[in-house]
């Protein structure tokens, strides 16, 4: 009898929480879905236009206004995927973005732990100083960066761009990770030390799995800001490590306006981002909810 009541109570709780969720998503009106839908349409239209142009010949783009490609062609994509100048641009971008993401996270993990667990001399000033570097306009730093990395002999290498992007990605990584780490109770650390764990072993075996979604979110943001940045990446490279976005600007000026080709290259710059979003989509929802971000 009492079991039945418990089950019944359980179902009631479950159904109310479903109702509550629904109440929130409906936003008090039946037309609640309209706002996000319109917004997504607004986001997709320019992307559709780019996609549309990428399947047209430059002639068709310039000569007539068509809502979909009449002379459908893969020639633009074919050119990009077979011409080393183009596809090397992609490989370069992916190379320095990956290096940067790894460096940022590896360096930021212990620092974020220190900020979340300890007080030390000048900690608050240091934290704010780190954030200020997220605020430094890249336009300010372009020329000095060029001189610095040239002097070191790192000009036109992947590692140069990866290191330069640390300027804004490390502060961001520390900031986000610190939020996640502060959400983990300190008792967990203490219990582990009592159980005889050394700090590195505790950190890798116990602590990192606990903040896995935080690391996922951080990786997403590091990837994103490194992938989209162009000013520094362009300043620090010439041939060997030139990012795809810079290849696009050069081609635009060199061969007149090859609009179809540019559009196809643009579409292809969206692809890696889309793949990354697809893989971290659950982390974003769950990860954001867990941390203080």
């Amino acid at each position: 009898m009492s079991e039945n009541t418990a089950v019944a109570a359980g179902t009631t709780v479950a159904s109310t929480s479903v109702a509550a969720t629904r109440a929130r998503s409906a936003s008090g009106s039946r037309l609640g879905w309209l706002v996000p839908t319109l917004y997504i349409v607004f986001l997709m239209v320019p992307i559709y236009w780019l996609l549309n142009m990428s399947f047209k010949t430059t002639n068709e783009i310039l000569r007539e206004f068509t809502l979909y490609p009449h002379a459908f062609t893969f020639a633009n994509y074919h050119e990009i995927l077979t011409n080393p100048v183009w596809y090397n641009g992609y490989l370069n971008s992916i190379a320095y973005v990956s290096i940067n993401t790894v460096i940022s996270i590896v360096a930021a993990l212990p620092a974020a732990y220190a900020f979340s667990r300890y007080r030390f001399l000048g900690d608050k000033h240091l934290f704010f100083w780190l954030l200020t570097n997220r605020m430094a306009p890249p336009a300010v730093f372009a020329l000095p960066f060029f001189q610095l990395y040239s002097a070191l002999g790192l000009f036109d290498t992947h590692i140069a761009v990866a290191l330069a992007h640390c300027l804004f990605n490390i502060p961001l990584a520390v900031w986000i990770l610190e939020g996640f780490m502060s959400g983990v109770p300190k008792e967990i650390d203490e219990t582990a030390y009592i159980d005889g764990y050394s700090w590195p072993r505790f950190f890798v075996k116990i602590f990192m799995p606990l903040i896995a979604s935080g690391i996922g979110v951080t990786a997403f943001f590091c990837f994103m800001f490194s992938w989209v940045e162009l000013l520094l990446a362009k300043t620090l490279t010439a041939v060997e490590a030139k990012p795809i976005a810079a290849v696009m600007t050069r081609t635009a000026s060199a061969s007149g306006y090859e609009l179809g080709l540019l559009a196809a290259a643009g579409v292809l710059t969206i692809v890696p981002g889309a793949i990354v979003i697809y893989f971290v989509r659950n982390y974003i929802a769950k990860g954001f909810a867990m941390g203080r971000v």
Binding site: I40, A139, P144
Partner: protein, 287 residues
């Protein structure tokens, strides 16, 4: 959380410190160095004191660019933050459709900035762009390469398109952290939709919204690539925001002294405003 005092924590911060300092302090010193020197070419420099700073601070050109940057940032924040919150409130809370929304909305965030500029550059063209065609077809005389008003409209629309999703993602994260029990309690109390927003959702979103405002403030104030591809600062100087002006001075005219002085003033403005935001945020958190 009460933290223990431990100065050895500095060793954990050291790698970050070295990497960031290498990238921040050396270039910053180069800029400072240029800002106090004058040159007549041939790499011969001599000390110029604070002359460049006085010149920059008194120049109408700098004031105009600063006003453009501040107006741009103010408009962007006024549109994107409320819009982002509204979208986060109305989008599905969880499940399949929430994932679909998140994936689609995050897409513009991951497009390289010059590609964003290029997309809008073409999308808004009056002859071959969809937006330009549409607006002209509706009877507006729209041409963003000629009319300053249209250029601003396009620039703002582009930024809303590009960045509102960041506010949505952050606000959504704040909303997801609210336990269902809160909503149940509100229902039992018979709270109105507005009361739920004002007393449950808004306070819970406070921290993420501060981060959103801070990030949007910094990025919109520093914006360079997108407007430089979209309008190149034109027509005339209509959309020449601070960063575009700075690059014009530094790389276009190669006036390193004034450019460096401008950089430092620019950086200090961002620093000051961000410090105010940051202090307010920390004070809120301690309460």
């Amino acid at each position: 959380m009460d933290k223990t005092w431990n100065n050895r924590a500095w060793f954990m911060v050291l790698p970050v410190l070295v990497l960031v300092a290498f990238n921040a302090i050396i270039p910053l010193m180069t800029v400072v160095n240029y800002s106090v020197q004058e040159t007549f070419g041939d790499n011969v420099f001599f000390f110029h004191g604070v002359g460049w700073f006085q010149d920059v601070l008194q120049s109408d050109r700098f004031h105009a660019a600063l006003m453009r940057s501040l107006s741009f940032t103010a408009i962007i924040l006024a549109i994107e933050v409320p819009l982002g919150v509204a979208i986060a409130l109305t989008m599905p809370g969880k499940g399949f459709w929430a994932s679909v929304c998140l994936v689609l909305m995050a897409l513009p965030l991951l497009i390289p900035w010059n590609v964003v500029g290029a997309i809008w550059n073409i999308f808004a063209l009056p002859d071959i762009g969809l937006l330009g065609r549409l607006l002209n077809g509706m009877g507006f005389e729209y041409n963003y390469t000629r009319q300053p008003g249209d250029a601003w409209f396009t620039l703002i629309l582009m930024d809303v398109w590009h960045w509102t999703s960041l506010v949505v993602l952050l606000a959504y994260a704040g909303l997801s952290s609210i336990p269902d029990a809160y909503y149940q309690a509100a229902r039992i109390d018979g709270a109105s939709r507005w009361a739920v927003f004002r007393f449950i959702q808004l306070p819970k979103m406070k921290r993420v919204l501060t981060i959103a405002v801070l990030l949007r403030f910094m990025d919109s104030f520093m914006i360079y690539t997108e407007p430089s591809v979209l309008t190149g600062g034109g027509p005339g100087n209509a959309t020449t925001v601070l960063s575009i002006d700075l690059v014009k001075v530094a790389l276009g005219q190669f006036d390193l002294g004034p450019a460096a002085a401008m950089s430092i003033i620019y950086f200090l403005i961002i620093l000051l405003l961000s410090w105010i935001f940051y202090t307010l945020m920390m004070r809120n958190e301690e309460q």
